[in-house]
């Protein structure tokens, strides 16, 4: 899969999801309007109102994350200071927060994962995991991993966590559950053809059902 194809797919997913989000916001806002207009002022309707407004805000957060993910593809470097804690400086540096990238990947690829009945999850990192790399190649690798699972029919649980293992920075991939666990495992074992800009990314087996995606540092995106 070429870089372009990868970008395109992530872009497409993100855009579709974004549109969905906007639709949900619209609906929720519409609902809130209706409650306000036709409600009876009771505590119950106020509660409902609050719930819809909550929904709106939640969706906005998701959308913002998607937007962040989109920005990754411009390869301008990591975003800073968003809805979570403020990030570090680094306008055009070649580093990114692997945890954030992971999270955003899960967000952007959610629809594709769903289509293959794969449950894609990301660990909740509280601390950033910094890496000397542009985000795009990382996304590309992750998409490759997802593709491998899709190619054997999906139906697995994939859990990603940005982490450091034995001095190397990478993403831990855990395959569990689902009907296709065995197939997915074997697919992943043979995974990761060299991709542009990340010729030494390797997927290592680190235990039953777990892999470690080693990402080289200092690579050009």
């Amino acid at each position: 899969m070429s870089h372009t194809a990868c970008m395109a797919r992530l872009l497409a997913s993100a855009v579709h999801d974004m549109r969905n989000i906007l639709a949900v916001i619209r609906e929720s806002a519409g609902l809130a309007q209706d409650i306000t207009r036709f409600g009876d002022g009771s505590a119950a309707s106020r509660k409902e109102l609050e719930i819809s407004l909550d929904e709106v805000r939640r969706q906005v957060v998701l959308a913002a994350q998607l937007a962040e993910g989109l920005e990754f593809m411009a390869q301008n470097g990591p975003p800073r200071g968003s809805l979570s804690q403020s990030g570090a400086t680094g306008d055009k540096s070649n580093s990114c927060d692997l945890a954030r990238v992971c999270r955003l990947f899960c967000r952007m690829a959610a629809r594709q994962a769903r289509a293959a009945q794969i449950r894609l999850e990301c660990a909740e990192n509280t601390e950033p995991v910094w890496m000397e790399s542009r985000p795009m190649p990382v996304l590309h690798c992750l998409l490759d991993v997802l593709d491998s699972c899709v190619s054997v029919g999906g139906k697995v649980d994939l859990h990603l966590a940005a982490t450091q293992q034995e001095g190397a920075t990478g993403i831990a991939v855990r395959v569990s559950g689902g009907d296709n666990e065995a197939l997915a495992l074997s697919a992943l074992t043979a995974c990761l053809r060299p991709i542009q800009g990340m010729t030494c990314a390797r997927l290592l087996s680190t235990g039953p059902g777990t892999f470690f995606l080693v990402l080289p540092t200092g690579e050009e995106g």
Binding site: M1, S2, H3, T4, A5, M7, A8, R9, L11, A12, A14, V15, H16, M18, R19, L22, I25, R26, A29, G30, A32, Q33, T36, R37, G39, D40, G41, R46, L49, E50, L53, D54, V56, R57, V60, A63, A64, A67, E68, L70, E71, M73, A74, Q75, N76, M136, I195, Q196, G197
Partner: protein, 576 residues
């Protein structure tokens, strides 16, 4: 004509993408031709020029010695004859008839004569009546009667006579000189001598014997007077036809029996005799011709070398050029690719940025709505509703705004999404046929598609592949224009484990070999008004980029067949 060549060259050198091999072959041929002609033409011109100059010079060189020889020989002969004649004349005038008319005296004079001068054979004394009253010599000619003979008459009239060479009574070629004397007392008598030709012949070659040149004398009737090495003995007819004689010695070029001859002639003054020096042309020209053949050999060798060098040089150069062009095309494609990547990135980033603002608005409004709900006094619905509704309206509007922003990206990503995925050729062909279906039906064209069930999916770029098939099918339809019972057949098969072969065949008007040669060139279109001429050019480029190949066969008025082979696994060239 130069204009055409220049145009042709410009066209060939003008680089465009999707370069066909024919283009490079043509370029190579043209360049070789130009190089050879530019190298060879001055060579030939120079050779011709120096050939002309040199042959002219050689001619002159050859003529000169002959001319000199002729002159010298003439001088020598004139001297010889002059001397002899003077002697005879002296004798005739120094003696009287009476004093000479004694055999002893006569013999004494003759002996004195011959002791000094060679060549006298005999001497005779002829009286007024024409009787030879005295004779000294090897023949029995005393008492011979010459009365009335022309020579005698001429001698008597002119006072002197020199004959041409003749056989006469003596049965060998000789020449006669006679001096007629009229004494004071009226006695008339003639002194006659015979001269041996061999002495004459000796005088012919004053510069020594020359084996290459044949020098001889002949008379006005082309009768040889002396022995000629090449043309016969004395008194035989000269087989050559000599040009008319002038007073001055001259050198002529004769063609006798296909042989080139150089002939120098000189007239002996006072006689009818002509000195002829003959040198055979080829003989004379041998040094020149041998030089010439050497030069021609060198010239030919040179030309051959020029042609060979040009050919191989141009072959290498054009191959290099082709490689460079392809490399450049690949690099350009790669750059385009990179550019595309970065533009996607930019677009995505642009959308992301733009969308943040509306999102922020929505968030604040929703937040405020919630705050109003929670933080303001909860007495009655109305005041809250008043502030809430506009907020919620605002949210709706903003959502629409955000949606518009994503529309751009949506369109783009849709086009991009099909960049590299497994494609069912059946589907692509079917979709292309969909596009052209109306037109096909309108023209009464029957289209059959035969694809095997197990034709594997081709991993490739959908939009590009579609473009290819649209182009091919469109061309097929155009070829069938105005034709009854038009047919288009599409076949597919697995030509080997990694390649799929699709064939599009039509029975339309086909193409001439000329058109077939140029088919992949840009702006070469058989449809004058319609089309940009870029269809096949782009198709070729796409297919090559997808790692496949395309071959076209066509026969005029019979139809065209296009074979497209595609790799099952796309090696999209210059993409990662």
């Amino acid at each position: 004509m130069f204009c055409k060549i220049r145009q042709q060259l410009a066209r060939l050198l003008d680089i465009s993408e999707g370069l066909s091999p024919a283009h490079y072959r043509a370029l190579r041929r043209l360049m070789t031709f130009l190089m050879v002609s530019v190298s060879v033409t001055p060579l030939l011109v120079l050779s011709a020029f120096s050939h002309i100059q040199y042959s002219r010079m050689v001619e002159q060189e050859l003529e000169a010695p002959l001319d000199t020889l002729a002159r010298k020989s003439r001088a020598s002969l004139e001297l010889f004859l002059g001397e002899r004649f003077s002697t005879v004349s002296f004798i005739a005038h120094a003696h009287s008839f009476a004093s000479l008319n004694h055999p002893d005296a006569f013999r004494r004079v003759f002996l004195a004569l011959t002791s000094e001068f060679h060549g006298f054979v005999d001497m005779g004394l002829v009286n007024a009546e024409g009787h030879q009253v005295d004779y000294v010599g090897p023949y029995q000619l005393k008492g011979a009667d010459y009365a009335g003979q022309p020579w005698l008459r001429e001698a008597e009239i002119k006072g002197r006579y020199i004959s041409n060479v003749f056989l006469g009574l003596r049965d060998f070629p000789h020449m006669v000189m006679a001096v007629h004397r009229l004494e004071a007392d009226g006695t008339r008598w003639t002194l006659r001598v015979t001269i041996d030709i061999s002495q004459l012949e000796k005088a012919l070659m004053p510069t020594g014997p020359d084996r290459e040149t044949d020098v001889f004398l002949c008379d006005g009737n082309n009768i040889l007077q002396t022995n000629s090495r090449l043309y016969g003995k004395a008194l035989e007819k000269l087989p050559l036809s000599l040009p008319p004689v002038g007073l001055e010695p001259a050198v002529h070029h004769l063609n006798a029996d296909g042989q080139q001859l150089l002939v120098g002639t000189a007239l002996l003054s006072g006689t009818d005799l002509r000195l002829v020096a003959v040198k055979s042309g080829p003989e004379a020209l041998r040094p020149w011709t041998s030089l010439q053949s050497e030069l021609i050999l060198v010239l030919c060798g040179g030309i051959v070398i020029i042609v060979l060098v040009s050919h191989f040089l141009m072959k290498a150069l054009v191959a290099r050029l082709q490689a460079a062009d392809e490399h450049r095309a690949a690099i350009t494609a790669q750059m385009e690719h990179q550019h595309k990547l970065s533009s996607i990135g930019r677009l995505a980033a642009g959308v992301a940025h733009e969308i943040n603002n509306p999102l922020a608005v929505i968030l604040e409004k929703a937040g405020l709505a919630q705050d109003i709900l929670r933080l303001s006094p909860s007495n009655g619905n109305q005041p809250q509703a008043d502030s809430l509704l506009p907020l919620l309206d605002g949210i709706e509007r903003t959502v629409l705004r955000a949606r518009n922003i994503t529309r751009r990206l949506l369109g783009f990503s849709r086009r991009m999404e099909a960049s590299c995925q497994p494609l069912r050729l059946e589907q692509i062909i079917a979709e292309s046929l969909d596009f052209l279906g109306n037109e096909a039906a309108h023209r009464g064209v029957e289209i059959t598609v035969r694809l095997p069930e197990n034709l594997p999916d081709v991993v490739s770029d959908q939009s590009q592949l579609q473009q290819v098939f649209l182009n091919l099918l469109g061309n097929a339809l155009d070829a069938l224009e105005g034709q009854q019972a038009g047919r288009i057949e599409i076949d597919g098969k697995l030509s080997d484990t990694e390649t799929v072969l699709i064939t599009v065949r039509d029975n339309g008007k086909g193409m001439s070999p000329e058109m077939l040669r140029h088919i992949f060139e840009p702006f070469y279109s058989s449809k004058r008004e319609k089309g940009t001429g870029l269809g096949m050019f782009i198709t070729y480029a796409i297919i090559r980029r997808l790692g496949g190949d395309i071959v076209v066969h066509s026969q005029q008025d019979a139809g065209t067949t296009v074979h497209v082979s595609l790799p099952v696994h796309a090696q999209v060239i210059s993409e990662a």
